[in-house]
Symmetry: C2
Subunit: 513 residues, 2 copies
């Protein structure tokens, strides 16, 4: 068999059965091999940042990597923004990047680029497959790297001749390495700390904010009175009824510093010490009190469930029911406000919904009003590179086998980065409801500009304002085959949300805010 067929068979045997793709000429043998070896679900994205963002969203729900299929260095480059986000989300992805044939590369044809150099900036593992006979084994290692807990970006560069030549050998799947074991002494030290002191915060990230870990964290908190928060840099939280009413460390420096001020000890479970998204003149980089001491219970590459279970056991913390978040809120009414939209969301969302949140400035307070919603998953932009909300929503719908409603809370400026996602949602008939928060500006930047100490002048506003001309999201959605409607009140928004939740199809609501 040729290299391409050995690669497809290796991927399928290793459990990689979904391929997000935007192929080009150098990938045609791989595309042909997909016809010959059935079993790979292929999903086309109309720009590579959609492709990589979908792979990220898929991983977060499926908890196993998909592969991407990208065309040469520039195709990889187009998808690097969301690979950056996926890296920060610690998602596992196997990128297959087709490239010039090995013997053709020295001729420096137009699409030749420093593909490996590009890949290294966003990948934990990079290899250019050097020969057809090695390709299956290379693919095994790529999948193993992507599956290394909790997930990594692995990029396999595939020269066209390595793909088309005969002599391919499918590789035997290998298990990923086990996460390094939790340090028993760290568990004991954390238990002592929690018994002795009342100024301790347990800071969770990664799998530490999913259901199972929350159960142990809540037992520990209940038994010791410790505070528990989620890191701001969190890609995926389990939320709603039956889960902890977790809040994240706030985004804004002043709010974050205030929220963390009283803790002199922070136990890190998959989290890093909290720092500002950016440095600001006259403000510190760190958000914690300068005298804070950190205690690492689990590094990001260790299993937080094991760590929190051990801690609960060390403390003899009894089983305890999750706190009751109170009654489900009534939907908001009238002119849209962040709180009103959050209440509407909590009031209407179906059981086990998935929220893909790229609401940026508008959504900072959504959590407070959605704790009493039915159990749901909430996905965040962990890497800060805008443009992941829509493709992550798209991929998450596929990662959840189209069985759960995805609600994409989407700022308009970020939406324009990856609006092509709507087309894939229509093509795959995915259960995604997109709510565009149309405020016609880069509102976060107008806030950031204020911190420079001035009101934006004409030149500055020309770079912060999206209102000239206004974007018409209903038309944009219709242009890509997605049904859509506008809402100017929360009642109308609620009606549209509820009717959309019954469809096995995407729907877009343009909410004028």
């Amino acid at each position: 068999m040729n290299g391409a067929k050995s690669l497809v068979e290796t991927l399928l045997a290793a459990g990689v059965d979904t391929c997000f793709a935007n192929p080009g000429t150098s990938e045609m043998h791989f595309v042909a091999a997909l016809d010959q070896s059935p079993g790979m679900k292929c999903v086309l994205g109309l720009q590579e940042n959609i492709v990589t963002g979908m792979a990220d969203g898929y991983f977060r729900l499926a908890r196993k990597p998909a592969c991407t299929l990208l065309h040469c260095g520039p195709g990889l480059a187009n998808g690097m923004g969301n690979l950056h986000n996926a890296r920060r989300a610690r998602s596992g992805i196997v990128n297959i990047v087709g490239d010039q044939a090995t013997y053709h590369r020295p001729y420096d044809a137009p699409l030749t680029a420093d593909t490996a150099g590009m890949a290294r900036t966003v990948s934990a593992w990079v290899r250019t497959s050097a020969g057809t006979v090695d390709l299956g084994r290379d693919a095994v290692e790529a999948v193993r790297a992507a599956r290394t807990f909790p997930g990594q970006i692995a990029t396999l560069i595939l020269p066209a001749d390595v793909s088309w030549q005969e002599g391919g050998v499918p590789g035997e799947p290998m298990d990923p390495p086990l996460p390094p074991a939790i340090d028993g002494q760290a568990v004991e030290a954390a238990a002592r700390l929690l018994r002795d002191r009342r100024d301790v915060l347990i800071l969770l990230a990664g799998h530490g904010v999913l259901s199972e870990a929350q159960g142990f964290a809540w037992r520990v908190a209940h038994a010791t009175g410790a505070a528990v928060m989620a890191s701001y840099v969190t890609a995926h939280l389990a939320r709603g009824r039956g889960r902890m009413p977790l809040e994240r460390v706030p985004y804004g420096m002043d709010h974050a510093i205030q929220a963390l001020d009283r803790y002199r000890h922070i136990i890190l479970v998959g989290a890093e010490p909290p720092v500002g998204f950016f440095g600001y003149p006259g403000k510190p980089s760190i958000q914690y009190h300068p005298e804070t001491r950190f205690h690492v219970l689990a590094r990001p590459d260790q299993d937080p469930v094991e760590a929190l279970r051990a801690l609960a056991q060390a403390l003899d913390a009894p089983e305890v029911a999750m706190p009751d978040p109170g009654p489900r809120p009534a939907p908001g009414a009238g002119t849209p406000t962040p709180e009103g939209l959050a209440r509407t969301l909590a009031a209407t969302m179906p059981e086990h919904a998935i929220v893909s949140d790229e609401s940026i400035s508008y959504g900072r307070g959504f959590y407070k009003f959605t704790h009493a919603a039915p159990a749901h998953d909430w996905l965040h932009l962990a890497g800060g590179a805008i443009g992941d909300g829509m493709p992550v929503a798209t991929g998450a719908a596929l990662g959840a086998c189209r069985q759960r409603r995805v609600i994409n809370l989407q700022a308009d400026g970020s939406a324009m980065y990856s609006l092509q996602s709507l087309w894939t949602q229509a093509r795959e008939a995915l259960p995604v409801t997109t709510i565009i928060l149309n405020n016609r500006k880069y509102n976060i930047l107008i806030g950031e500009y204020a911190s420079v100490g001035a009101t934006p002048g004409e030149t500055a506003m020309s770079m912060l304002d999206l209102g000239n001309p206004s974007l018409d999201w209903v038309r944009l959605a219709h242009g890509m085959g997605v049904d859509a409607a506008q809402a100017t009140t929360l009642e109308r928004c609620a009606d549209l949300m509820k009717s959309s939740f019954g469809r096995q199809a995407p729907f877009l609501i343009e909410l004028m805010v």
Copy 2:
């Protein structure tokens, strides 16, 4: 003054007065400085690949660099596809990439990335400005690098604190280095060759295919009988009445080999030896006859006008009028065909139009039928990374000071890579007519798949077909504030083209092909 103000003043003094931007938090002091130091025209793009593509199109017409303003590593990454294309087009661009404050970088906040590593993959010059006092001088060197003949990508990484701290010193503009002089012995050798032999091709690229160089090339060809062609990898050709009826080396391997077969000597003027875009099984990498000898008259970094003038003088080649391309063709009629569309274009285009051609497979034969059009400029995708046609059209309209009509011949698959360009066209009221060649598939790939030796099966077609759902380009344009209409016949297309040419505004024609 702070660093940002010194940077803006340095750029303005060096003649960089246009900024294509998509800023973020770390660029707010630069944005504020633009308000304080007037003179910079700022143009917002809604995704960074639009920003960088516009800067490329601007340079091709203005023949001086613009700057871009990009946000951290991922913002740069989003724009790297079109920076790759601009690098292959040898366009000059000064990228300003705002980044984490120097002291904040070690904290590895979410948007922290290997910005310099990313920049190196597409730039001829990269520097991270280390201190406010150095920033003005760094900017001078960046502009000098970008202006180095014929043009280069220069990337200046600007840590936020270097931007906001006081102590900025505007830099004194420096002239770029002169292109290395033409080698007189190479001119003599080329002249001898042209006198002695009848199997000589002069292959032009870069400025060698613009008007002035063509005048000398035509004198040489007329005096010696030499053939003249343009390299396929050509970003910008002067075409139409009063210019040479140049053809490019064909894209397809077999056609290219056939076209070059009879030449045993190729004189390179800004061009590289012609090679395939890709390697293919059983085909050579080179497109020229294996016995061909190359003679470098001008390297890409040398002035082809000087080289061709010297050659014409060495040959005593007399002044001669450009060949008459014959009568202007009548417009095409009925069902759209490539030839019919080319005739319609030649029949209707206004004087000094600019064609931005990302027609991919549909446009391979456009040249033959447009030699007799009025004088115009034709812009190509030189780097092969699809998605540059629309932003290059947008930037070219600005580079030509909105005084010339831009006609964007645009394949649908590539258009979806950078459709956000339409919004900037509407915002800036740019005279751009976009013709979407809507064939609802990645047609070039269906052709490439055939060369694998099979018809695409269901899985393969799922990655090559754009028809499910169909994209509605009229709605997409309306959604971004651009007026638009559909045409299913060439008569209707001609009517829409003609009426659009009278507007000081963009217009989009969705041509069903």
